[in-house]
């Protein structure tokens, strides 16, 4: 028997979370995993490689990327806010942008 790997495919919405556990052959790619998860059929609004990007554990990867055992394939959704506008607005309101740890300035 060919070597198998365990992976998860997840698609998170604010109120609903999908987490599909899969056992795939070792040479499977990200696209195979998403195909096998059946999430595309359940959520027709997922547009891979256009609107929705994919990644493994918070790192963006391409659809033909290879999988490793215990990877979590994540289907992302685009941002609603424009990061530049949010930063600008916060600056106008006089709020300080802090960076990791949250020590820089109290607001």
């Amino acid at each position: 028997m060919a070597e198998m790997i365990n992976v998860e495919v997840t698609y998170a919405l604010p109120q609903r979370h999908e987490l599909v556990k899969l056992v795939l052959p070792a040479e499977a790619t990200v696209a195979d995993a998403i195909e096998a998860s059946g999430l595309l059929a359940r959520y027709p609004d997922i547009e891979l490689d256009k609107r929705n990007k994919v990644g493994i554990f918070a790192k963006l990867v391409r659809l033909d990327a290879a999988l490793r055992d215990r990877d979590r394939v994540e289907i992302y959704r685009p941002l609603i806010a424009d990061p530049k506008l949010v930063r600008k607005k916060r600056a106008e309101e006089g709020k300080v942008m802090k960076k990791g740890g949250g020590e820089a300035g109290e607001d």
């Binding site: 997840t10 998170a12 919405l13 604010p14 979370h17 987490l19 990007k53 990644g55 554990f57 918070a58 790192k59 963006l60 979590r72 994540e74 992302y76 959704r77 685009p78 941002l79 609603i80 806010a81 990061p83 949010v86 930063r87 916060r90 709020k95 942008m97 802090k98 960076k99 990791g100 740890g101 949250g102 607001d107």
Partner: protein, 183 residues
């Protein structure tokens, strides 16, 4: 007579060999006490106890370096269970480490999230799905309510929302019997 002796000796040898084999083959790795303490701890991995996670805290309790009342998420119930397990006196939660709060999960305001990944790096249990410049979402069943993601957010878009008590989340409360009326 001799046969009986021989049979008993043979049985003793076989059983001895079997026990010896079992003790090597099924050796328990690690300290079972640490495992038991770890099973009681809430696995929030929040670090409020001063240790980098629940397992290190369990280790510290087992070694006698830490007290049993340093875990705010575990609350009074957790301290009682630890006291039972270790045969120690119950003591109230040490305020130095925080106060007991109802279980909450993080929620990200999608209108404000800028996809900076700082909360993802802070999350000890991989409960936030997202990547650079992609929407970040908290996966509620995975979130332990440790609040470690709240501080790093540069746009303050994460709030903690208490989990409402439903049929699935309801748990038996520790029985409280009031012996004397409170003043």
């Amino acid at each position: 007579m001799l046969t009986a002796l021989l049979i008993m000796a043979a049985i003793a040898l076989v059983l001895g060999a079997a026990l010896g084999f079992a003790s090597i083959r099924f050796k328990v790795v690690g300290d079972p006490l640490v495992e038991k303490i770890d099973a009681i701890l809430p696995q929030t991995q929040c670090g409020q106890c001063g240790y980098p996670g629940c397992k290190p805290y369990a280790q510290a309790i087992a070694n006698g370096e830490a007290d049993i009342n340093q875990c705010p998420p575990g609350g009074e119930e957790g301290i009682r269970k630890l006291a039972d397990l270790l045969g120690r006196e119950f003591k109230p939660l040490s305020e130095e480490f925080g106060v007991e709060k109802p279980k909450a999960v993080a929620r990200i305001d999608e209108q404000t999230c800028i996809g900076c990944t700082l909360c993802i790096q802070a999350c000890p249990v991989d409960a936030i799905v997202g990547a650079a410049k992609q929407m970040h979402t908290v996966v509620e069943p995975l979130c332990t309510g440790c609040e470690l993601c709240v501080a790093p957010c540069p746009v303050d878009c994460i709030t903690m929302e208490p989990v409402a008590e439903t049929v699935e989340t309801w748990k038996w409360k520790y029985p409280v019997i009031e012996i004397r009326k409170r003043a």
